[in-house]
Symmetry: D2
Subunit: 340 residues, 4 copies
């Protein structure tokens, strides 16, 4: 008893996010048929295939792209492979879900976006936080005018622990690796474009991060076209857990999304009251959002609608990252128009 | 690529809870192989089979019990069928997960428990709330002595809306249909037995409930063997949603489990601050708990351990329900020993 | 520059509550002129007179009652002196604010109430919690129908530490000493009379309390005339502080008053999140309420209105206390009408 | 019965803050003897004198300064009078509590501070928020190392409604009138000096504010000498009330002070859960802090210690205000050293 109209999907990459997508596609998205996993790490791929009952595994993504049963691909391989895979996939007529960042080079991004447009395939970028139920409600409150005209926005985004120094070296720097999510969130929540960015930052968490030319702590000011003033604060290490909050303040009120806690239990003892800790990290915090973004990808193919996160949405935060970097280096506000 | 050692499972019943078990078994429990759905409602069964890729559907549970690929059965049919199905399943050597209540007749329960014991099969009763992460943490806090000796417990359990009057008529009354969960929770959290019960109740929500001889509002006092005093309050209609809270107070502190909210969003406007509503009802509220209880069932078969909710755990709350009913009718505290 | 129409007030008793009244009258109630302190503890009285600039101190309350500048007296001496002082004060035409309990003997209370009525003086009883801003809002929500018809009420009232055993011996027992406040709160919040009481209790905190014939832990069920079911839980020792909460659940919603915290500071560290402790005890918790009740007393004299807590309000909780005690001893629900 | 060693105090100014100080000095600070009120508004002064039993009122502050019973003066008159009054008071040997801002002119401030130092009198500036119990606990947590090395600080400070436009015109601008409190709070909480400021701002609330050359919405970035990065956000109009929150994030955790609510009551209804509103404005929000700061002033005179808010503490936030203004106008980060 097999459902006829399922979408054939292939996943490229079996890292942390790739695994999560594989799990969601095979267990929780009845309209998707996960046919193939493609990975250079054959051991992991085999083990996932057994665990989730996936028919094929392969190491060369080109074989996957010639499979006519495949309608869409999930590009979850390392960032430096996105360009060639996306180009090949678009040319093979496959719809594409591409993890963030599309690429670190703006010219390459433009190339991909052009090819995708010409091929007429769907292209959705993996800004999973847009699909978090809390942030969606904040966006709704702003879009519907429930808080009036937005004036001030605050985004707090702090990781529980810094990544390995080897990763930091090739990450493109904190703004392009970590803040990129917050840049996207800023645009998403306000529904408008940023015109100028001012960034301050420093090395507070680990001097090694400084030694490889990066920062681990930052405070970024955004000025939107519509006058909204926003601040993002980032740290690579919040010892109390993965801290992800937003607040939008407007003429008719304020809407905030606080951290979801891991339970609702409170202990009251003589030394005070203690409540649950924060989620450990993004897989735990955004599990549902990762599922919802894939469901949205499947649906936009089925219903032939525009993806909820477009290629342009994937490009702008990269530009914002370069503007922030320039601002940090030159210690002055940098206009978005300064980054080509 | 199929995992060898999966447990073959059959589900009997495709009502609200049956459907949930079917979804969990087919999507989220890799160690289970949901082979057969058995239901008199063939339309629903067929649709579920297609949706979740289930090989067989049938209407007669006896055929299911003769299938040697089936290791365990989930009995989620209506309460009045539990007795014969559980007996047949035990005699067929199948492990049994039986929804609550096992039966409303204590003699029948004793019969089932005897047969199950003789057959040497696992028998787990569907008290799903024991697997809620919040209540598990409360239980841990009590069991570990973190709050010292427990003195007072409060359980609030209110449904969002009363069931249809036709259901009320055959439900066995609020104590056996609804409070039964709270009776189980009380025993679970304290880890001790109740010796005396005093119940007051009334018809506040809907006079029709009174007309069929039931109540819709109750306040129950429990006295435990170890001296703990507990109160349960129930209503069939909390207009603000499904309200499920517990509090245990002891010599070294207090532990509470509050309701999980549907999001973490707060609106601050001139008229005050507004936060998220409660979950609608039990499927939403206890989704994870329903999954965890099935995982525990599968694991107790695999690891040949005692189920976490035993047949005795399924029986005692029924006795408590009868004691509460007697107390309500006679307006006096009733000892558990008064109910045979 | 002295305000002409100030009310002359005398305070009798300089214990913990007496001192608080003295401070409030001399500092925060411009319409009151605290003329005299009367106390057998002359040292304390003298020190208070200096601190708060009070003209006269005396040891014999009769001298106070003959002072024509005195319009009203605050009776904050020990319970066993209330009867004779209130009688003498009423006969001297002084308005009376009497601390709770008026007396432990119902006949004596009736006598006082008769004398007071005959003398035509105001008589307000010191149920301070009615003047707590949080509980007032809960009362308003119930009275205004904001939560519809009330169905269930829960009152939690736990002291931080038991009183000295010498005090316990003469206190009249937990129901008359401690629960009396909750009995009053129950009547106040629902605005109706209790018809039946069932109480269970035990000695969990300190065996010495049991040795002198009292209990330290209790759970009390109240049934109101209008059908509301209520539960009060009490403990003499909550190690986390003075715990005072109420909840009223009705056909259109629920209203709760939680504990006010001592500050709004939260610490998030790797071991979890920690917030402020509860207030230490009643002076800290109900400071504002103690002031508001005295302001109400002064105002009811000035405006010649009925006191907000009448003599009858002072009597009924005593009856409730005796009913609870009888219920505890006889292990059965006791009707209010059983206590004469 | 008069206490001998009381400090004689005179209050100059009977505006909103002056009245509050008068009330606190006459009612809640036993060690202070409020002898004289000095105000050009004789009607208000007379009414206050009657209400609070104050012996003398006058219109000329020079008479007050020649009264040998006066030990200290509270300067709560309009900002443009602070210079001459403080100078005269210092020369008369009176200890001075001066409302913020000392003056808008840095040279004048320096003059006052020089005279005060020469005269050897105490000089405390009215940064009341330092005495708020919540912020004091945050300061303690930072100072004690409880959150490790501080990395990021966020201050939210929003008024419930903009002041009259006539006031805005003479206020010195939002940074010197409103943000000045947050500049002080920033220095207080971190215990270090700011080296660079970047400010963005706009007119979102009322175009009239823009017409007189001011802003009503701002976001300010502070860089501290010790590397802490801080952000302040301000609005002249938060429709939901007076919003005053701080958060300090460090290497070992985070400490936050949330808004105190006006009550602890929550309503749960079908449309969601609603809790208490924020305090209206600063008098309600900081009532206790205003009292504590005056107690500290009295104590620093009695105990001959350094005031907790010094003249230098009064000067630096003015410099920060000018730096922010320069940053706003020139759209670049401005070093504190650029403001002489």
């Amino acid at each position: 008893m097999k459902k006829p109209s399922k979408l054939g999907i292939g996943v490229i990459g079996t890292g942390r996010i790739g695994k999560l997508h594989i799990q969601h596609l095979s267990q929780n998205i009845p309209d998707a048929d996960l046919i193939t996993i493609c990975s250079l790490d054959t051991e992991t791929a085999e083990s996932l295939a057994v665990q989730f009952n996936i028919p094929k595994i392969m190491t060369d993504y080109n074989s996957l792209l010639t499979d006519s049963n495949i309608n869409g691909v999930i590009v979850a391989s390392s960032t430096d492979t996105h360009v060639e895979i996306c180009q090949a996939a678009a040319q093979a007529g496959k719809h594409i879900f591409c993890e963030k960042p599309i690429a670190l080079d703006l010219e390459q991004i433009d190339e991909i976006l052009a090819i995708v447009e010409k091929a007429g395939v769907k292209f959705q970028v993996g800004f999973n936080r847009r699909f978090d139920v809390n942030f969606m409600r904040v966006r709704d409150a702003v879009a519907s005018g429930e808080i009036g005209e937005p004036h001030i926005m605050r985004i707090t985004s702090r990781d529980p622990a810094p990544p390995p120094i080897e990763y930091v070296k090739v990450s493109g720097g904190m703004f392009l690796d970590m803040t990129i999510h917050d840049f996207d969130m800023a645009r998403y929540l306000i529904g408008d474009e940023v015109v100028e960015i001012f960034a301050v930052g420093g090395v507070c968490v680990d001097p090694k991060i400084g030694e490889v030319g990066d920062i681990d702590t930052a405070l970024i000011t955004l000025r939107f076209q519509n006058g909204v003033l926003a601040t993002i604060d980032n740290s690579r290490e919040a010892v109390y857990g993965y801290d992800q909050r937003v607040e939008v303040f407007g003429s008719k009120g304020m809407v905030t999304a606080d951290n979801p806690m891991t339970d609702t239990v409170t202990f009251s003892r003589s030394e005070g009251s203690r409540s649950a800790p924060l989620p450990d990290f993004f897989v735990e915090r955004y599990k549902d959002a990762y599922l919802t973004e894939l469901q949205a990808f499947v649906r936009c193919i089925q219903e032939e609608t525009q993806p909820l996160v477009t290629g342009a949405d994937g490009r702008v935060p990269i530009v914002m990252g370069y503007a922030a970097l320039k601002s940090l280096r030159e210690n002055r506000p940098v206009k978005m128009s300064e980054i080509s």
